[in-house]
Amino acid sequence: MSFLSATDGITVLIGYLIKRLLQMALVLFAVSVIVFLMMSFTGDPVFMVIPIDSTAAEIEQARRLLGLDRSLLSQYWIFVTNLLQGDFGRSYVFRQPAMDLILERLPATIEMVLVAITLATVIAVPLGVFAGANPNRPISRGIMAGSLLGISLPGFWVGMMLIFFFSVRYQFLPSSGRGETVQFLGLRLSILTGDGWSHIILPAVTLALATLAIILRITRAGMMEVMRQDYIRFARAKGASRWHILFGHGLKNALIPVVTIFGLQLGDLIAFATITETIFAWPGTGKLLIDSIYRGDRPVIVVYLMLTAFIFVAINFIVDIVYTMIDPRIAVK
């Protein structure tokens, strides 16, 4: 590879960004088709919005009003053109824009997920590095056995056990809700109050457990591979300290798969924290999704799924950028 000049670099970067944006658009288009079709096959939403004793004429009218009398293709066309204009439809139940409903609850989910994934990463990476660098130590074997437990235990069970011990038996932490919130930059947040923290800790731990175990195992596998490399030996021959060799030379080389999994887990937690949110009555988007599915509130479900797809695509994009920052051999193309 030649040494790129600064302007060449910027041209490459812009080209890359355009390419990625087009890819994102394509993915979102595909998701919109799938979501739309799926929704069309899951029952007639008209019965969700009309009174139970409506006449056939009233049903017909409601159907026309909702645009459900048109062909599938024209319904899709209306759906997409509205999407592009920023109109994501209104909830049948709340008669509010579906997007507003979700955005209102998104901060709750995101703050819980961020606490969970930070917790998981801060614990998992050092343990993974240790276990990978000393695979034969009894402590490492203990860590690995523990991680297996973390993967195997179902979240709902862990959540209930935590509630049982910390909320019921020792009455140490609250079992439900967000606690006290404060307004910050227009968002309602729990993590800025002590009471909020006491509420967030149990759901975050529940959510963190599986992610912690996965990140730990990936980190360990990467480190085991890296520690065999010559440059690790060369670093030792230079007189570098053990700490510096592990975290300076070793970890950065083991990080690519860790970042990949981190991104996937982050998206997964944001989109599907449903069970944990239900157990802890955490008023986030996951709970909204479940409620909307029960109520057949189609616009909310659709927007939720579109948003989820967008979050995944966006996270993957960021992850790809992070790759190039970690490993200079990976270039943006």
């Binding site: 440059y231 060369f234 030792r236 300290s241 970690i326 200079p328």
Partner: protein, 326 residues
Amino acid sequence: MSETLLDIRGLKTHFHTFSGLVKAVDGVSFDVRKGEVVGLVGESGGGKSVIGFSILRLIEPPGRIEAGEILFDGEDLTKKSEVEIRAVRGGEIAMVFQDPMTSLNPVYTIGRQMDEMLQLHTELAEPARRARCIRMLEDVGISEAESRLNAYPHQFSGGMRQRVVIAIALLAGSRLIIADEPTTALDVTVQSQILKLMRRQISERGAAMILVTHDLAVVSEMADRIVVLYCGRVVERGRTEDVIAHPAHPYTRGLLDSIPRITDRQHRLRQIPGTVPDIRELGSGCSFRERCFRAQPLCAEKTPELAPVRQTLDAACHFPLEETKA
């Protein structure tokens, strides 16, 4: 005769593997004097590299230094604590590895990897360290050194990378360089450049070098003295001229004979019959006896000790070869 820098006495490094005890280095003794190049020669699996790693205490489990002394400037390296030995690594004794493609960390710039060495072993401030790195790169023949500091290893060719590795090894002013097959992974044309470079740079700095290689041709050009290893033991050691011209041990003779010569009229390459025995199953007696054309019953009964055969040459053989008149 100049002062002794490194004195290895009775070094034993064994590996306790699942399939048995491997005595990779089994009672090796030799010394290195200041400013001298000593060649460690032998076939693969002869324990050459393990000696290098033992000196810097880079042997990892299941390997262990079982016995012996490694005196560097009179201090026994085997008795030093981990923190003390870290100051020696890279500081007093530096190492160059076989494969330049893998000995540099792919995710850091050349400059950063050079700077690490100076941060670890000098008190220099950043500008001074940077200046020293640039000069060092120029010394090992890398042009546009300043901009290369920001380059990553994958942007360099194999020969260039090995130059960088050598630059890093020389950077902190080590008095002993252990070069483990430094040119084996390189093109033949690059090999001789790198060897010349190492020799010049090392002698300019008054440092000594242990050159680990299987290539007798390389050693004969570079080394002042040669130590020949077979199955973890020294079978012959002496001044390069003597060992090359008049080897006393049949194994050395065999190694020398297997170098192809352009003047040779023979069509087949000569080789040593047989293969290196399984190092886990060595009993008593000379471990070379089964491949040796001079083997006698005595060779199976008694392990030959290293003893002076001539004034400047020791060999571990019951029936050493006579000095041949050229």
